[in-house]
Amino acid sequence: MLTILFDGIAYGMLLFVLACGLAVTLGLMNFVNLAHGAFAMAGGYVTSILTMRMGVPFLATLPIAFAAPALLGLVLERTLYRHLYSRSHLDQVLFCIGLVFMAVAAVDYTMGSQQQFVAIPAWLQGRVEVLGIQMGVYRSFIILVCGVLALALQLVLTRTRFGSRLRAAVDDPRVARGLGINVGAIFAVTFAVGSGLAGFGGALGAELLGLDPTFPLKFMIYFLIVVTVGGTTSITGPFLASLLLGVADVAGKYYVPGFGAFVIYTLMIAVLVVRPQGLFARAR
């Protein structure tokens, strides 16, 4: 029981790191970035290649798994995404589906369609028993890292000058621009960081979630659930939503395996119907 809770929390933390970039993108520029999963996949593949083929230690690959998608995100944002902010959601969705198709086929072509693995150091493997709860060491590691990250994000967002500018831009881009805030630059940086975080999450989660070319499609819906349920105006909303989703998904798979993914899909529809602006968001 507690083990399920523990696994669920680890899963949820991972989802949060994966999805928080999307939350900001959606909240800030009203952009539906369905291709977010592609950045996560990029991070996962970077780590996989570095650890399995080049023998780089796992921990050393994590910064690279952050940097590479971040750079990719920055380039794509400046060249392509930028032109689509003022378009309709349908255009944005079509564009992102196109990107996802390209990413999936490109990875399939270069890496093959089989499942990729990540070499995790021995000291992160195995399980320990604490207070009668079976805890995977790697899952504890994920909870720790993601917890620190979430805390750091929250602090950056609420305590720094950049954070306050970002929040101002989220609340009302037009007024923010009027006050001399460079919304475009802020968005580029945020987009890059969000993509980087997705990549980081992809690298961390490759072991738990599995990694193959269909990753962006498989997890797209999870990210969207986190964002739509959590709302996009804060970090805490998606955070709570991720934890809820993680625990619900793990518990659902454990207790009612026959129902598979229904639980969360139904949950999402229900939340969207009752509260279109998200479960934890304040009504605007």
Partner: protein, 343 residues
């Protein structure tokens, strides 16, 4: 400017007239039965996808409802028709009818959830419904065959006379005939006052409500109709290929049909059919060059299409069509007005 109801009626009657290019279009379709005897399988797929895209056009092009989960109805129709045939009810039209009815019922039931909220919410909710349905089909393997697909679909002869042959000739003619019949109905509907009111809703729901159009009821009606059309398309696929797999409910179905419609242009009914021809021919050629990676090029196409401007690209076939039909295209088509910034 329409001033009086007589003027409106006259305009609708004028629009309802069949023009020469339309006749040519359908004549060409009919001629393909004789002229392209070795491509029946591809042609059949084109017609089915064309009908599916037509169903999406009814809601997207005429009522402005975005959907990322239209495969739900397509898949439901396919499974209904497939299961019916598998369990002994082999008459094709009965299968079509039941598929349409059940898809319409699902459309009606879900419309109340879909027609709320912003475009984004609609996209997510439709996507969610499609995923739930795909998951149901996956889990109910005792009924649907699960990942192995539904096998053993045996169809009876069409109208009791025409057996399905191995070359797919009967299948193609059957699909084409059904699609044509449904197209005529859809064409009649969009030039009716009902269709005109849908366009009014698409362009400005607030004003439409103000002039007394029952917005929600109209949207529910067209959504249900569109679901029925998609169900028939799915049923056609199941009956003509005599196989149903989980693929009919997959996400890429919904994405592909959106792409087909976008390629062909939205909001003039022929978009889905024209798009289906272009899409399938493209896919056929791409798949011949790089089998299994053709989705990459579809992705490239989508990205370019959106960056260049969907409206502008779609305006080209529409303009050509408009010139051919001698009809000035009405106001430039604004599909989805920019989301109003929520204050």
């Amino acid at each position: 400017m329409i001033r009086t109801s007589q003027e409106a009626a006259a305009r609708l009657t004028r629009r309802g007239r069949w023009s020469l290019p339309e006749v040519v279009f359908w004549a060409a379709a009919a001629a393909s039965v004789v002229l392209l005897p070795d491509r029946y399988l591809l042609l059949n797929e084109i017609v089915v996808i064309g009908l599916f895209a037509l169903s999406l056009d009814l809601i997207l092009g005429y009522a402005g409802i975005v959907s990322l989960g239209h495969a739900a109805f397509f898949g439901l129709g396919a499974y209904v028709a497939g299961l019916l045939a598998k369990h002994g009810v082999a008459d094709p039209f009965l299968g079509l009818g039941l598929a349409a009815a059940l898809a319409a019922a699902l459309g009606l039931a879900t419309s109340f959830f879909v027609l709320r909220g912003t475009d984004l919410t609609k996209l997510m909710v439709t996507l969610g419904f499609a995923l739930v349905l795909a998951e149901i089909a996956n889990q109910a393997a005792w009924l649907t065959g699960g990942a192995d697909g539904l096998q053993g679909v045996v169809m009876g002869p069409v109208l009791g006379f025409f057996e399905f042959d191995i070359f797919g000739r009967t299948a193609y003619v059957y699909s084409l005939a059904v699609t044509f019949a449904l197209f005529v109905v859809a064409r009649r509907i969009v030039v009716s006052p009902f269709g005109l009111s849908l366009k009014a809703i698409r362009d400005n729901p607030l004003r439409a409500r103000a002039v007394g159009i029952p917005v929600n009821r109209r949207l529910v009606a067209v959504y249900t109709l569109s679901a029925a059309y998609a169900g028939v398309a799915g049923a056609l696929l199941a009956q003509t290929t005599q196989f149903v797999s989980l693929d009919v409910l997959a996400f890429h179905r919904s994405a592909d049909v959106l792409l087909v419609l976008v390629i062909g242009g939205v909001g003039y009914l022929y978009g889905g059919l024209v798009g289906a021809v272009l899409f399938k021919v493209l896919q056929d050629n791409l798949a011949a060059i790089t089998p299994q990676y053709w989705h990459f090029w579809i992705g490239v196409l989508l990205v370019i299409l959106v960056l260049v401007g969907r409206d502008r690209v779609a305006a080209a076939p529409q303009a050509v069509w408009g010139r051919l039909t001698g009809r000035r295209s009405a106001a430039p088509l604004r599909l989805d007005p920019k989301p109003v910034e929520d204050a």
